[in-house]
Point group: C2
């Protein structure tokens, strides 16, 4: 189900830059499992969604300057500490909290991700362009066998997506034009910001990103260069 493919644009692509949370890895299932393994007496679905939802306001505090530069690890921890109070989980040791917070270093890949990335890597440079900190992305990529050519992170540019410095930073790192970079994400807003910087864009459907109880609209947007159900389909569309 390839739609909106523009072979001429895609032909100029040199680097594929991937959003990671939700696009390449299944944070919902992974965090749910970690909470389950700890036997916490909470509504795991609500806890997981709230932890993820707390991430954007936390990022915005950094983007607005209210907070100085703070890594996603530290932002995840701030949100976690609030949630543990809200959900009245008061018995965890510091070591347990630290370990739970590192659940985000252990997210599992979507079933198509390793095959899709491996195929794409044969023809393109593939890198992350995630708000996750470098260590988080490296640990996750190692445990999930994600074969990146390079891990790029907001941490490299000291700006969080959707700051243009992140999208344009990918092009600058590789000394290529913004139009030679294709941003790949399961989120239309991420892609819209990338497009505004002159990048090509590929949308990946991840209808279960927020779990089985929350609907996600995965309908195509004609402004994207490509629309694919998963990363293997993207690889096929890009001739890999």
């Amino acid at each position: 189900m390839m739609e909106h493919m523009n072979p001429q644009l895609a032909a100029g692509t040199k680097v594929l830059a991937f959003d990671v949370f939700g696009t390449v890895v299944d944070w919902y299932k992974s965090v749910m499992q970690e909470l389950g393994a700890m036997n916490l007496d909470v509504d795991r679905n609500k806890f997981t969604l709230a932890w993820r939802a707390g991430y954007m306001p936390a990022i915005q505090k950094v983007m607005s300057g209210e907070l100085g530069w703070t890594s996603i690890d530290d932002l995840h921890r701030m949100v976690l500490d609030e949630l543990l109070e809200t959900f009245q989980v008061l018995h965890l040791t510091e070591a347990e909290k630290r370990n739970l917070n590192k659940a985000w270093h252990r997210l599992e890949a979507w079933p198509d991700a390793v095959e899709g990335l491996t195929r794409l890597k044969s023809r393109y440079t593939i890198c992350t362009m995630s708000n996750g900190n470098i260590g988080l992305l490296a640990n996750m990529s190692k445990s999930a066998s994600l074969p990146w050519d390079c891990i790029l992170s907001a941490e490299v540019f000291r700006k969080y997506k959707p700051d243009p410095a992140t999208y344009l930073g990918v092009a600058q790192v590789f000394d290529i034009a913004p139009g030679e970079v294709m941003m790949v994400a399961a989120h239309q807003d991420d892609l819209a910001h990338a497009r505004a910087c002159g990048l090509q864009t590929a949308y990946i459907e991840r209808p279960l990103e927020y779990g089985p109880f929350q609907h996600k609209d995965v309908s195509p947007n004609a402004d994207n260069t490509l629309h694919a159900r998963n990363l293997v389909e993207l690889a096929v569309a890009l001739g890999c």
Copy 2:
């Protein structure tokens, strides 16, 4: 020929951080070949050694503040432009100069490097900690099939080795103690600076780093945690 191994120290190692030029890739042979392919009427041995030798004074200009932050690509180009004048090579087009400067993106790995790194990766996180810019390291690693878990560069920390921010930065990125990082390099001065920051160190002999006409002292220094002839020998010493 393993010397000075300290198994207790090595047991605490989580991340191996590699110097790249000379340690993992053979810049001398690669640059010599690129000059040869261009049929330049110069003493290739002298030109190659002078290009590499020009790198340190250029870095020092950045470290002293005389130059603002400048990538290795741009420093290589500054040195190249001077050398082309010194060697009276005046006929190259801008495109040819740009391409020649990117010779550093195409350096070949030492024959043991891919096997050694692949084995080390099975047990440790392996990353670069090079003064090379991220794009240079990523392009080189892709063309030479170097299987890094993560590419770290002076560019991430906006400080060049031997600034402590680079060595300590590796530990900070991975949220581990400096003593859990082992710096791997073919240069004793690089290792001495890493050691001063609390890192473990492994010296790799590369007697031909400067080509067949220039002697390189590769004798052991007892202050290093490990001393190995090449990266396969390092892998064996580290139980991989």
